[in-house]
Amino acid sequence: MAEEKETKSIDQGTLELIEKAAKEGVNTTFDRAESIKACPIGSVGSCCKHCGMGPCRVPLPKGKEETPEDKKKRRGVCGATAETIAARNFIRMIAGGAAAHSDHGRGVAELFLEVAKGGAPGYEIKDEQKLLQVALDLGVEIGERSNNEIAADIGRIALGEYGKQAGELITLRKAPLKRQELWRKLGVAPRGIDREIVEIMHRTHIGVDQDYKSLLKQGVRTALADGWGGSLMATDLQDILFGTPAPILGQANLGVLEEGEVNIIIHGHEPLLSEMIVTVAQEPEMIKLAKSKGAKGINLSGMCCTANEILMRHGVPIAGNFLQQELAIVTGAVDAMVVDVQCIMQSVQTVAECYHTKIITTSPKARIPGATHVEFDEHDALKSAREIVKTAIENFPNRKGNIHIPDNKTDQIAGFSHETINYLLGGMFRASYRPLNDNIINGRIRGVAGVVGCNNARTKHNEAHITMVKELIKNDVLVLTTGCNAIACAEAGLLVPEAAKQFAGKGLAEVCETVGIPPVLHMGSCVDNSRILIAATAMVKDGGLGDDISDLPVAGAAPEWMSEKAISIGQYFVASGVYTVFGVTWPTTGSKEVTDYLFKDMEEMLGGMWAFEPDPIKAAHLMIAHIDKKRKALGIDQARERVLYDMDMRRELDAV
């Protein structure tokens, strides 16, 4: 039993709560992952249910090589081949992921426009610097105009990018010039965000696009519309409204919950409402109300990407990542869990019913039966936030006892936006990526890896994340992180400068110590993967490491991925020229052709390609091998000895 339990998480507090849930008869995702077997045909992309003649299952023959005859038989009722079916399934995942990120971005753009027009009290333009930056990106006139006038134009243009029908997304122009040319040449430069997503749904309908290469190309185009479009815009507009992240100290893990206080967990993805809850929870009337109910105060914490958003801007602690959401409720100390969109398990409600926790849904797009619904109204956001905080406070006296909050929390430093990295490396007078590039060229830093993505109940919680990241930094690879990987790294104590000395290789540790940064830089939520794209572009533009992202000694990974968003992110990393390794499972192995196209042919086409390796150490070594390959191509693979020439040596040189 003890051994079985050990297989579920590397985190002690998580294990304690899994055990508590089991004792109290509470069913969690960890139990369901054991009792539900993943469908072996669907999981490799060999099942199609796109019409009423199916579902059609076209599995590879078991235990033997596929013969040409077998292959001919692997078709759906409509004649779709296993390749078409696998490619259709894969790009529908991209459509789902791109839609999620981009609809998040659209929500921000709508609020942004309202703020500019004065229709959203409580919100304001907090970061004029970023406003001007985005105005320059979108070609908005600055002059002597007020911030709100500039913002109104930005909001209108940003919203227009979603429904644009022709041309290409304006923000693609932020990419390296060579990359932009490549996208145009390949015909994958996205026209409008919604258009590319809709086109995937059309092409994957029965009887439309039946060439797997053509389908996968549309997947690339749509993923680019996510990374360089919808996600990038979400990040930029959030920065303008709430501030561009700068280094901030926070804490992480379930131990951030406080037994004597009203615990409110904000879970989900969008920072629009959570920003208001942060404000309201500090209001003296709310604190007074909490005290009147016997609590010492109000303790806010975050979960998943909302957590990353409010951590990066306010230092609000993080209670956990995706697989810890039910367990937070199992502590018995959570008075309300406020949710918006994405990665919220429906079972938080059933777990909550075993305790006193109130699940409060807030988005009209995401309802859960049994939950309390307080719809977020951007025109009166403070009112929605007050109603939510009050509901939590009033629920405090309903606690049922048997509370257990694990004694585990770690410090972390987050807030490494591209702008902040640039500033930290060069200072106010000459902000620059030069020190990073120089240290890559001189070999102190071997390369840079973006390690991101979810948790997956099919693997041990956080194990692959931490094993991979430790292996990378040990080998002098600087890690940029977002999403649930960032939370895992925080919980493992990797997001503090001291971690460099303890876990990083000598070269990376030296650089971290000099600049005063951790070896793993927390860049934000999953839409903030766009920050990694911009950081990579700045590295290219600074010079000395090639002309394109695909020349850089960099790699990407999502070792515990599970969501469609992760597939979209992975695909836009690949399409931007990054070698990207996923763990856990791979959704196209039912077709060798489709898998080869993603794992091999894409490198020729895009300079980046996919790889699959569930073992995190082996995956880290694949990334390091790729980084070394790029270092060799750049001619920086050999450490060059620096010789100081004295006068005699110089004279000798002159004589030659």
Partner: protein, 72 residues
Amino acid sequence: MEYKIKKTKAPGRDEVELLGATFEEGKPEGEDMGKWRQKLDSREERLKYLENGERYFYSQEWFGSEKRKNPA
């Protein structure tokens, strides 16, 4: 952002102005910790910072590694 200027005598010249330290002394604490962007306090300064600090994207003259071949 205020520049610290020091006046000093230079050999063969009269008084010259020297730019003092451009880093901040001490360790920022509390609210200010890490909040570097607040140091820029006018639109002009912010735009200047973008052109210089974020020159990769916003300078007319700077194209970094791309300068050699394809000025945008």
